[in-house]
Symmetry: C2
Subunit: 357 residues, 2 copies
């Protein structure tokens, strides 16, 4: 049932222009919720877990524009591709007895039996914290009408892990920060943001490195403040990072124009001509070209195509696209082919529109 | 007076298609000659050296289609560019009191007061040993009619260095051997050829490295054999190298097609997009692209354009072209610019002729 989600790397919504999409790739809001009549997931029996999935399917199946599927019953390749598309978390892909509700426009998903019974998630392009939060709350209300949610008047929402107790709210934005990486400022910002109580990590969350100079910034605090206060604090942190990145890009161009242009144009030349490329190199070079475009150099890689490629070049998505397990070598070949085709298409679009060569 | 020689990196003759030009860039024949009424150059006084130059100018000035100039009286940049164009030897560029006769088509040059009084040189594109030798002998005869040449009935032509005694003949071809370099066979061939009495060295002769995978193969033996025998022996050695290079290219393509194509196309992409490039990198990447073209990949870098670029991207020529001393950084910028322009022009020619994109 997830096949149609994987026919393209970006949903229609994610493929649109969005605020600050020069730096902010996407905004995600996640709400952790648990129902009172089941133990927390760590304590659930197999039967209880299945029962919750079945009950959820029954309760939510009436929602218009949503579809439901069991994640534990699809193959590993599909699960990997769902993670790469950020429709599910890496954790959900490995847990037994899991389900997923997802809206047709792919903006909203509800993971069942992740760390909490429900993880409500909204995903929007660019920086759209308020809108993402508004949508998440709508889904939260729909679920609350159908389930008795574990809530304590003093503590707030109860969750499996104490770190989520309170609002159960996590806001995350994915930022493209080549300026801060190339000027070696990123480590300082990471340290500073952590001291302020934010988490900042590489692209696919915990444990992965920041390949492609993509960083995910999230709030850590969920307790002792209202949702609105948390969102406002978080928005300040994101805006500070955006400003720092803008300043770093400007500084790079002023101080090292020739080296920078050489590096960025070379990356473009390599992407347009390579026949073998690893995910790591591809991501880094695409980051270079995105930066080049944003600095006004004579190449075009709009934010949505950049994002599109970042998703479609991942191992799972690439294999899903080619409909089979590929060796590492085959993936490097297909990845290079996909990039060349996409960039050539973009060049042709530019020409048609009278853009750059 | 040498200015017009430096308006373009290749003479009209060198810019034409030639036998084996897929591997052999150029053929050079040099004859060392000395006149009897002056001491060898190592023993000459300043006055004698000037007198020889003046006498040579007088004697040869009547030759149609030749021009004469004093090399020691032009600036260092011009001398460097003349070396890069192979019109003079590196030695002539540094000696005091030196002259040069050169034919309008630049195929023939006579250096005065190099290691020997005269060094007659013919330079042709591709593999053209017999033709180059024929032309050199014509010039040799013209000079012999005007000067009494030092010749011993037993030893043959007498020269400053004993290694040139006998025929005074040195044949050199410049070979582009990326196949033997990339398959790590080149060191074996160098050793073998040296054992057989040939010299093989990097592109600008003694002391320089083989950047761009260009090698100069010369005969070492000049004594105890006729000119024809020397030329025949030498031709065999060159043909053996050509065959080995052809086999190596074929083998590379069979064994490592994907890696090879990736490498060669990347080099093309980089050359088409770099904004800064060193002479060393440029030469190596041009070698890659030439190889790609010769293997039938979808890029075009014909032998003459390759050769043209090899010359024009050298430090001296580049500065000569821009009419001023450039910093290393400025050279890297101009070099990258020249390459981009030339390759773009070539692409446009290909399109016009319905060739590859």
């Amino acid at each position: 049932m997830f096949e149609q989600l994987l026919t393209r790397p970006l949903s229609e919504k994610m493929d649109q222009q969005a605020p600050y999409d020069d730096i902010v790739v996407s905004t995600r809001i996640r709400l952790a919720r648990n129902v009172t009549h089941y133990p927390f997931s760590t304590r659930m029996t197999e039967d209880q877990a299945n029962a919750l999935i079945n009950e959820t399917e029954r309760q939510l199946s009436g929602l218009k524009g949503f579809q439901f599927g069991r994640v534990d019953q699809v193959d590993a390749l599909t699960r990997t591709a769902l993670v790469e598309k950020h429709l599910i978390s890496p954790a959900l892909a490995t847990h037994p007895r899991t389900g997923l509700f997802v809206s047709e426009d792919e903006q909203i998903s509800v993971m069942v039996n992740e760390e909490d019974h429900f993880r409500i998630q909204t995903l929007l392009p660019g920086l759209q914290l308020e809108e993402a939060f508004r949508v998440a709350k709508q889904v939260d209300r729909l679920i609350s009408e159908r389930f008795k949610i574990a809530f304590d008047d003093t503590l707030g929402y109860l969750t499996t892990c104490p770190s989520n107790v309170g609002t159960g709210l996590r806001a995350s934005v994915m930022l493209h920060l080549p300026g801060l990486v190339l000027t070696n400022q990123i480590q300082g910002y990471i340290k500073h943001l952590r001291q302020l109580g934010f988490a900042i990590r590489g692209r696919y969350g915990e444990g992965s490195d920041a390949s492609g100079r993509m960083f995910q910034l999230s709030n850590q605090r969920t307790l002792g403040a209202s949702e609105d206060m948390l969102i406002t604090d978080y928005q300040f942190a994101v805006e500070a990072l955006i400003e720092a990145e803008q300043a770093a890009r400007k500084g790079l161009l002023e101080m090292y124009q020739e080296e920078l242009e050489d590096r960025l144009y070379r990356s473009y030349g390599i992407l347009k001509s390579a026949r073998l490329i690893t995910a790591r190199e591809a991501t880094e070079r695409l980051s270079d070209v995105r930066l080049a475009d944003s600095l006004g150099l004579a190449v075009t890689l709009p934010p949505n195509l950049f994002h599109h490629l970042l998703v479609s070049l991942q191992t799972g998505f690439l294999q899903k696209h080619f409909g089979k397990q590929l060796t590492s070598r085959e993936r490097d070949i297909e990845r290079a082919t996909v990039i060349r085709e996409m960039l050539t298409e973009q060049t042709n679009r530019d020409h048609t529109q009278g853009g750059f060569a």
